[in-house]
């Protein structure tokens, strides 16, 4: 009896050990098997930013099909991804991140956004050491101080604020300048205000500002205040429909400054203001569809092939789509260059070491050791309301101060 029990115990131990070693053989890194790399993402699929979630999911679907069907995967491994709905809610984001890491056991988290949701998981990213590539959250804490596993690729309103003052002083050579900032009263808007203030300090200019609460539709008080202060050049940080409303209010009260809209205003809804939007400036870090750069042409072709011409129209109409596509191209290069021995640490090392990446004119992206801010260069566009286009008036440039 005792002998049998001993044999049984030995057998169980052997089976468990075999199981453990065989698993180790198949799975070199979490989320990576011999034939698959599993990525995860959390998106707002049913909350206030659901439109964004749909666009990103479309981009990821096209990317997955392209990599697997046309590129043959990376070193024999196909890619796959799981999506968790976070409804733009910080708690659900934390839940989604935990689920992706511990339940789905993803290799890396890709293509996420949202200041509050991403801020909610900063500590988890450090603790779990899971690469997050990239986040498009607009807060500075995403890259400053840098977190090894978190990469940021978006547009910085602080950079844009500085660039506005640079452009007014150095390019427009405007006289008797009075700077103003109309901004959504949150971290996003405050970073714009900070940028303009930094720029103004450099050139010895003064800044007046008028914040508004998120969700405000009527900016009459802000327009009145700016007019009373005699603002000649005004930076706007907020959503495009509110920008259009600001242009209309400015016209109503007889205030005629030169506006500089941040990257979010590079949006078809800016044209809701009609001719009033014409001739004002905008900052953008991406290539435009009408420029017909190779990156856009390839992206259009892939979206049309993979989603069908009709279904591709919606994501392609979105001007921020290169913000999703450029990092995916960058990720492709990293995964290709790492080789078959793929680990999270190697991915992080590779992502920060790629130099002179060519996105085909979609946008500039560059990281470095201890540099998690992936976007440094922008162009300034002028709004052509008749053609409903944003036309670049400068080449790629960086703010004069960092």
């Amino acid at each position: 009896m005792k002998k049998n029990r001993f044999r049984f115990t030995i057998a169980i131990v052997c089976i468990l050990a075999l199981g453990a070693f065989s698993t180790a053989g198949i799975c070199a890194e979490v989320g990576v098997t011999d034939d698959k790399i599993l990525f995860g993402t959390f998106q707002d699929m049913s909350g206030p930013g659901a439109y964004l979630g749909k666009q990103v999911t479309s981009a990821l679907t096209v990317w997955k099909d392209w990599v697997n069907d046309d590129l043959g995967g990376f070193h024999g491994r196909k890619v796959d991804f799981v999506v968790e709905d976070m409804k733009y809610d910080p708690v659900l984001t934390k839940t989604a991140f935990t689920k992706l890491v511990h339940q789905h056991k993803v290799f890396a988290v890709i293509m996420v956004y949202g200041s509050t949701p991403c801020t909610a998981i900063l500590d988890d990213i450090k603790k779990e050491k899971v690469p997050v590539f990239p986040t498009a959250a607009t807060t500075q804490n995403m890259y400053d101080p840098p977190i090894r596993y978190l990469f940021w690729y978006a547009c910085s309103d602080e950079d844009n604020g500085i660039m506005m003052v640079d452009y007014i002083v150095n390019d427009l050579k405007a006289k008797n300048v009075k700077l103003g900032v109309v901004y959504q009263d949150d971290e996003w808007g405050k970073s714009a205000l900070k940028g303009v203030e930094i720029g103004a300090k450099k050139y010895g200019l003064k800044v007046d500002s008028a914040g508004y609460k998120r969700g405000t539709k009527n900016l009459n008080p802000q327009a009145m205040r700016m007019k009373a202060k005699g603002v000649t050049h005004c930076f706007y940080a907020g959503y495009a429909p509110v920008y259009a409303a600001l242009l209309q209010e400015a016209n109503k009260v007889g205030w005629k400054p030169t506006f500089f809209g941040d990257y979010v205003t590079v949006d078809p809804r800016t044209f809701m203001a009609g001719d009033l939007a014409d001739g004002h400036y905008h900052f953008f870090n991406l290539g435009m569809q009408h420029e017909r750069v190779p990156g856009w042409i390839q992206m259009e072709k892939l979206f049309t092939e993979k989603l069908g011409a009709e279904a591709a129209k919606e994501p392609l109409s979105w001007r921020l789509m290169p913000l999703m596509w450029t990092p995916l191209l960058y990720l492709n290069q990293a995964l290709e260059e790492i080789g078959p021995d793929l680990t999270r640490e190697k991915l992080v090392d590779k992502l920060e070491s790629i130099q002179n990446f060519d996105s085909g004119g979609l946008g500039k992206i560059q990281f470095g050791p201890n540099m998690r801010k992936g976007n440094h260069e922008y162009r300034i566009f002028k709004c052509d309301a008749k053609k409903q286009q944003f036309v670049p008036v400068t080449d790629w440039r960086q703010p004069s101060l960092k």
């Binding site: 998106q43 707002d44 699929m45 049913s46 659901a50 979630g53 749909k54 666009q55 999911t57 479309s58 679907t61 997955k64 099909d65 799981v82 999506v83 968790e84 709905d85 409804k87 809610d89 910080p90 708690v91 659900l92 934390k94 839940t95 935990t98 689920k99 890491v101 511990h102 339940q103 200041s115 509050t116 801020t119 909610a120 900063l122 500590d123 988890d124 807060t139 804490n141 949150d186 971290e187 989603l307 279904a311």
Partner: protein, 348 residues
């Protein structure tokens, strides 16, 4: 109470918190299951269980105010916010330990509850709802704009809690703290409901004028309900803050208040078990919808961008169906099942 405690046959039995042996045995099984949960489930399920626990505590607090006393509050998330930010400020800025920050968070929320409770002496129904709604927006505004204290959108982080020298740095360890407090809150609420105070609160809910005539001090009990409810909400908020490690204004919005109201409605108003079931149900519902929709999205990628919208419809539909067909909530369904099986296999 009479509806839910249908199997009681004597007054001594009615005085017991768990009147039947079956209730006591099933409770022991449930506790054993909950104690063992982190051992056989992963980190994710443990984290979700901890969120459920915090929601249970908070829903129990709201149940005292709305379920027992009949004072509908849309400011519950604000009380949680006060508790959360108090704990965060005490822990982060003043270096208070977890054991000190937690009760202080509850106390400050309770003090605020007392202040908010005063107008309720003259208000009822929709007027009270609007007052608590205004309170919710005031707190939201303060959290958002008192930057030096709350750090606004950037959020305020909390250090890892420490309990009797043991660092609660995993979801598993914090889960047990939440579990203990959830059980304690449930027992407290159950006892409160069965005490003189609880009966006074129910009397106010059912007919305040009649309650006053029979000697219930309306002002005292209404304010007491607010104080106790907000104290529990404050504790839940503080636990939430420690569990998440970082809080921001978006954690305690009007939507959260509505969610807590939904919890006690779906679970069953005026019952402890209803609050528990409702909180667990409402926390798990999005997870279940996600779990169902993910395979569909994988099988039909073209549908994946649309599935999010469908999940919202399902979420709303479940709540509407409950309100229409089961006003007593999930607990009502449970009671009906129990009643059906009690005389089985006989009809009567």
């Amino acid at each position: 109470m009479a509806v839910t405690r249908f199997c009681i046959r004597s007054y001594p039995q009615d005085l017991k918190v768990f009147p039947s042996p079956a209730a006591r045995i099933s409770l022991v099984w449930l506790l054993l299951f909950l104690l063992g949960l982190p051992f056989f489930s992963g980190k994710y399920i443990t984290f979700v269980a901890a969120v459920c626990g915090v929601s249970v505590i908070s829903a129990l607090g709201l149940n005292i105010l709305t379920g027992y006393t009949g004072l509908i509050s849309l400011g519950h998330a604000a009380f949680m916010g006060i508790g959360a930010y108090t704990a965060a400020a005490l822990a982060n800025k003043a270096g208070f330990p977890f054991l000190a920050a937690l009760p202080l968070a509850g106390l400050l929320a309770a003090a605020t509850g007392a202040v908010v409770g005063i107008p309720t002496l003259r208000l009822r129904g929709l007027y009270l709802v609007v007052t608590t709604l205004a309170f919710e927006f005031i707190v939201e505004h303060i959290i958002y704009h008192w930057e030096s204290m709350t750090q606004s959108d950037r959020g305020i982080s909390l250090p890892t809690p420490d309990l009797f020298g043991y660092t609660l740095d995993t979801y598993e360890s914090f889960y047990y703290v939440v579990l203990v407090l959830a059980v304690a809150t449930a027992l407290f609420t159950k006892n409160l409901a069965m005490s003189r105070t609880g009966r006074a609160l129910v009397a106010i809910r059912d007919r305040d004028i009649a309650a006053e005539i029979i000697g219930v001090h309306l002002a005292k009990y209404k304010i007491l309900a607010f104080v106790v409810s907000s104290f529990i909400a404050g504790i839940a908020g503080a636990l939430y803050a420690y569990l998440l490690g970082l809080i921001s204004p978006d954690h305690f919005t009007f939507n959260q208040s509505v969610l807590y109201i939904a919890m006690i409605i779906v679970g069953g108003m005026g019952t402890v078990m209803g609050s528990i079931i409702g909180a667990v149900f409402m926390v798990l519902l999005p997870e279940v919808i996600n779990a169902i929709s993910s395979p569909i999205a994988s099988a039909y990628p073209i549908l994946s961008p649309r599935i999010g919208a469908v999940s919202v419809i399902v979420y709303g539909l479940v709540i509407i169906l409950f309100l229409l067909f089961e006003p007593n909530g999930l607990y009502g369904i449970w009671i009906r099942i129990k009643r059906y099986w009690k005389p089985w296999p006989f009809t009567y």
